[in-house]
């Protein structure tokens, strides 16, 4: 049986890669994909602790996080489509004003 902290360290590495993506990229969609990566790293942590402590609550949390990530992806991508129609770019540095 694989020790729990292996999964925790893998999750920490994936989360850090996601942080790098959010901090250093300009493409809005890539930043969004990095956020999805971080969400998945957190899911892995929830499952690792759920197995360690034999709690089903962690699994329920992962279930809800997946549903919320789906909602977030739909709305976020709609925002990017709107941004692209108005500005012809999805460079997040171009979208520094709160009005069109």
């Amino acid at each position: 049986m694989i020790p729990t902290h292996y999964f925790l360290i893998l999750s920490a590495i994936l989360f850090t890669i996601g942080v790098v993506g959010v901090l250093t990229r300009k493409n809005g969609i890539t930043i969004f994909m990095s956020i999805e990566l971080m969400v998945n790293a957190v899911n892995l942590t929830f499952l690792a602790y759920a197995r360690q402590f034999h709690q089903v609550h962690g699994l329920i949390f992962v279930f809800f996080i997946m549903a919320i990530a789906a909602a977030e992806a739909a709305v976020g991508l709609a925002i990017f489509i709107t941004l692209f129609h108005h500005r012809d770019t999805i460079d997040v540095d171009e979208a520094n004003l709160m009005h069109w």
Binding site: A12, T24, R25
Partner: protein, 170 residues
């Protein structure tokens, strides 16, 4: 055997995650993210949660990432050259992320190494999750359904209005 599978798929997940972050083409990034999510589904199986592994493949790799790919192709982004970030932003981003990562792993190794293994098998199948979901978590479950409805309406409203405006403009 179990450890071989773990390390192989951990390497797959990390390498494809790096491709997502470092590659300039968003289509390659989205497909690598699908591969990374598949490797994470294997991790879920190793963590004895086969139901959530199936959900990971169907919902994440299947639905959400297809949505990403559709939007990338709809906006014709595969030929857009991304301007490189300012050097100061790159430097600050990499150093602060590295510091964050090292801190995270340091404290994980220091405090979260469990001496005892989890005792006995713990198989979280669909039945276990369903019973708990409809016993203790009914209210959050309904809230999530309302949230998904709100997301549908919001997405339609956001992307539909620009379409009408585009048609009316010229």
């Amino acid at each position: 055997m179990e450890f071989t599978i773990f390390f192989f798929f951990a390497a797959v997940a990390v390498i494809f995650a790096l491709v997502v972050v470092l590659h300039r083409n968003p289509v390659v990034g989205a497909l690598s993210l699908v591969a990374s999510f598949f490797a994470l589904a294997v991790m879920y199986v190793l963590l004895e949660a086969p139901f959530l592994a199936a959900l990971q493949v169907i919902v994440y790799a299947g639905a959400i990432m297809v949505l990403f790919l559709f939007v990338i192709m709809l906006l014709n982004l595969q030929h857009v050259v991304e301007p490189s970030t300012r050097p100061i932003q790159q430097f600050l981003g990499y150093t602060s992320a590295a510091a964050f990562g090292f801190g995270l792993i340091y404290y994980l190794v220091k405090y979260a190494v469990f001496a005892k293994h989890p005792d006995g098998p713990f198989v979280a199948d669909a039945r276990t999750i369903g019973m708990e979901l409809f016993r203790a978590y009914v209210f959050p479950f309904e809230m999530v359904s309302i949230l998904l409805l709100a997301a549908i309406v919001g997405a339609l409203l956001l992307s539909g209005r620009t379409y009408q405006k585009r048609e009316a403009a010229p």
